[in-house]
Symmetry: C2
Subunit: 346 residues, 2 copies
DNA sequence: CCTCGTAGTATTAACGATAATACAGCACCG
DNA sequence: CGGTGCTGTATTATCGTTAATACTACGAGG
């Protein structure tokens, strides 16, 4: 903290008015006549006065800060979310407190506690596990404004999130409609109990009367480019006859694409690849990647709106509401054209 | 802010001790006997007490928060910096306040002011312009702990940053040593007065006795993949005989690489490409990219160390110190092999 | 037996702001 | 001419914590 910032008291002493008069003048109270205000404002400028937000927060019982808990900020989607949230909140006069849980439940608990200690007015949370959110439910029970950015409809906590099931369904259906019958799924969500994308994939197959083949399912160890490469390697080692691969995120898809480049598998001729999230690099990959678009602006916008409405809810505390945003597909080169039986991999 | 959090006063009332006794007990003062402490701690747990950091900050005159001003969090380097800073600061018991200046000087001023109002104990700043930092100098003059993450040695403000000149020198020299004589530079830093990389490039040429050719210099409009593609297009439209391209960041290099892919220019056979920053996607590009490594851990670690030492400096306020971290090269496929006169572009 | 130190606890004063209330002085009105 | 209301300002309380100081009881020492 700066050693010796000017306080209201200092301005009061210099101008000869009382602290309260100075405070009122600077806040534009109509009870202070223009001449008095002029003197005070002038002195405040001269002394480089900046109100102490800490003191203000204490008496006003609001910090105008909102905590954002991310699992991992290097994930391009979360980076973009962080950016969008910070931008919108600063527009609304809030500061954003960031913390990353690094996908560890105990760390998540700790950062939430830290935010609570700092009296963040509300929180936006990407829980590291959809199924273990008791500590978050407890927050809500104590009337703390919380909005999840990934959530179950039956979580009992407000949430605004992408309808991953619908996204996976749409993408898989698109591949089916393009003539594919043997569609692999490279999936990373398993460990945290995220089966929405798998569900959507299965539903699309079922809707088209295609039986689900476990051989076409590859569980990647993590969710970055390297894991995508490895998963694609695993897949190509099986005899599956896959003509398309749907990846549960774009980094995995880029890894799969790179594997194809290295092995001379032509995309989309030999293999179509569909990603998820539509990150910036998807568009600019060696072969531009088709992807399920994560509409970050829409989701963060709604989540912020919700958390602020909870903050402003005085007496009547509304029932939790889960908003699902249905994603659109972005079709690019990696899934171009109708697929006709020709070459296959594996 | 949560509607009804337990306060010291509430614990005091429940246990029958005074507020001060409760405070001392919870902070582990030796003056409180074990039995008293036990009762108080028990009650605190039962009431789910969490100290109010706002009140604490007010009286302790420190918020244990540090502001980080970034130009643009979607820049992968800055994302990684944000992550590293947040991680290290949280380890040290600080919270990180983020804000982005979006490369606008007035916004930068505004967010710095916001941090000052919130009494951040110190700030780490990526200034949007190396040359216009008067407002930051003024901060330091008021004994506010600030450390720049990009800086001039003569800025008069503490800074810890990558030696971009040395990095550019090293990369260009590497290309020269690989046999290249016609080395283009795709450069984005111009508008903000960042000429370090250009300088390093020119120094390397001069050291090798190669004359600088302005035709080989392409100023990109921005610094993302699209701009790299465009810049490469511009370059290939000139008759320059370039055999290598050094790009002032990896996104530009990825764009250049993509242009080559599209136009059938083989990398590195027809053209070597060297990037800058060594972002994650550089390694996983269609052709793995050689790059100047930005040692984020080292730089953020030193910067944090410095800002904290400034925070703890009581009376003696040390003279500003600029620390330059010399980067290493990461050589990958995109600059593989010695270059022999064969095909050229342009 | 009276002082003195000390252990345990309480009281009071900060921190820097806002909010509620109080109090002059003056104009207006019946 | 006394009350009433307004205008401009000051006083006081409050937010939840820490820090400095004050008190009380008790045991030890001269």
């Amino acid at each position: 903290m700066a050693k010796s910032a000017a306080r209201l008291k200092d301005i009061a002493q210099q101008t000869g008015f009382s602290v309260n008069t100075v405070s009122l003048a600077l806040r534009g109270s109509p009870r202070i006549p223009d001449e008095t205000r002029r003197q005070i404002v002038e002195m405040a400028d001269k002394m480089n006065y900046l109100p102490n937000q800490v003191a203000k927060s204490l008496v006003m019982k609001e910090t105008r800060s909102i905590g954002l808990v991310l699992t991992d900020i290097t994930n391009p989607v979360l980076t973009a979310v962080a950016q969008a949230v910070e931008l919108e909140l600063s527009r609304l006069g809030y500061i954003t407190l960031f913390a990353t849980s690094n996908n560890q439940l105990d760390l998540e608990r700790k950062v939430i506690e830290t935010f609570r200690q700092r009296r963040a007015d509300g929180m936006l949370i990407f829980p590291c596990n959809h199924r273990q959110i008791d500590h978050i439910r407890k927050l809500r029970a104590r009337n703390y404004p919380v909005v999840l950015l990934v959530g179950d409809p039956d979580a009992g906590v407000d949430a605004v999130c992408m309808d991953e099931r619908a996204g996976a369904f749409k993408a898989t259906t698109y591949l089916i409609d393009s003539g594919h019958r043997r569609i692999a799924l490279i999936h990373s969500g398993g460990e945290n109990g995220n089966f929405e994308k798998l569900d959507g994939y299965k539903m699309a197959l079922a809707a088209a009367g295609i039986p689900f083949d476990p051989d076409l399912l590859v569980a990647s160890r993590g969710h970055d480019v390297r894991n995508g490469f490895g998963a694609m390697e695993t897949l190509s080692g099986r005899t599956t006859g896959a003509t398309a691969v749907f990846c549960s995120n774009d980094s995995l898809a880029l890894g799969a694409l790179r594997f194809c480049t290295v092995r001379g598998i032509s995309v989309p001729r030999d293999l179509a690849i569909f990603g998820f999230d539509n990150i910036e690099f998807a568009e600019h990959a060696a072969t531009a990647l088709s992807s399920v678009n994560y509409d970050i602006e829409a989701i963060t916008g709604l989540a912020i709106e919700r958390v602020i409405s909870l903050i402003n809810a005085k007496a009547e505390w509304p029932a939790p509401r889960v908003t699902l945003v249905e994603p659109d597909l972005v079709i690019r080169e990696s899934t171009a054209g109708q697929w006709r039986p020709a070459s296959r991999i594996g």
